[in-house]
Point group: C3
Chain length 108, copies 3
């Protein structure tokens, strides 16, 4: 208990009271920050783009929940499209036969 | 989390001097790493692709600062395009009337 | 030294034994969690989409290792394409002269 209280005080006290303590505090701060940053970077390095294609007959196709369209493809060679409500590919050429969406998200 | 506090202590002790202490240090290390990894994963799980569409008259349109084009769409049904300086969609068909860019970034 | 070891032991103990100690533990937990979360957020804020274009003659082009295609462009104004094995752009129009892929990954 006494130990926990002094630890709390050490953490809560805004300033250090001797030069030696300041030096130790700074070294510890840097070491802890480096340790955390290293784990964060290693975890973040595993983050990948996860993508899939979806297609449907007609001029509209939506990405699965959690995925965002990053590009669209259209039947009949058509390259004119837009994205509706941030989730649906819409091909604009008249009488379009199929529409496809490239859908991506961040995966860990 | 308690383990994270113990990391401070573990870092202050340069080496372990008894077998029991070494065992404790290892347990603390593992607990600290697990605690940090858990926070990192929870934060990373909130990372999303943020996307928006921009379009303009003519054959060129640029993404807003911080966003990257992931695909382009063109008027006149044209599907031939390229990306200039990693930021601008350029539609290649002659006399193109409009160009659109799908622009994404990583949001936290 | 003895104090540090017993503190480690105290920290490893799963439960707090007095109300005051519980309160202290919670305060420390929150402060440490805030510190870690801050480092995580700062690191994550540096995560960017890294993209590049690749193109090749013919109807197929693949992204470099680690990159995912987010959209494809085709010669002859063609906007009909699909993505094969999550890595290769394929333009569908007959006799296509060139194919390009927009390829992205998450960079830290």
């Amino acid at each position: 208990m006494k130990a926990a209280v002094s630890l709390l005080l050490a953490l809560l006290l805004p300033a250090c009271h001797t030069e030696a303590q300041c030096t130790i505090d700074n070294v510890v701060d840097l070491k802890v920050q480096a340790a955390i940053t290293s784990i964060v970077s290693a975890t973040l390095a595993k983050a990948k783009l996860l993508c899939q294609d979806v297609s449907a007959r007609g001029a509209l196709v939506s990405c699965p929940a959690g995925y965002k369209p990053t590009g669209c493809a259209c039947g009949m060679g058509c390259g004119s499209w837009d994205i509706r409500t941030d989730s649906t590919c819409h091909c604009q050429c008249a009488g379009i036969d199929w529409t496809a969406a490239r859908c991506c998200k961040i995966g860990v």
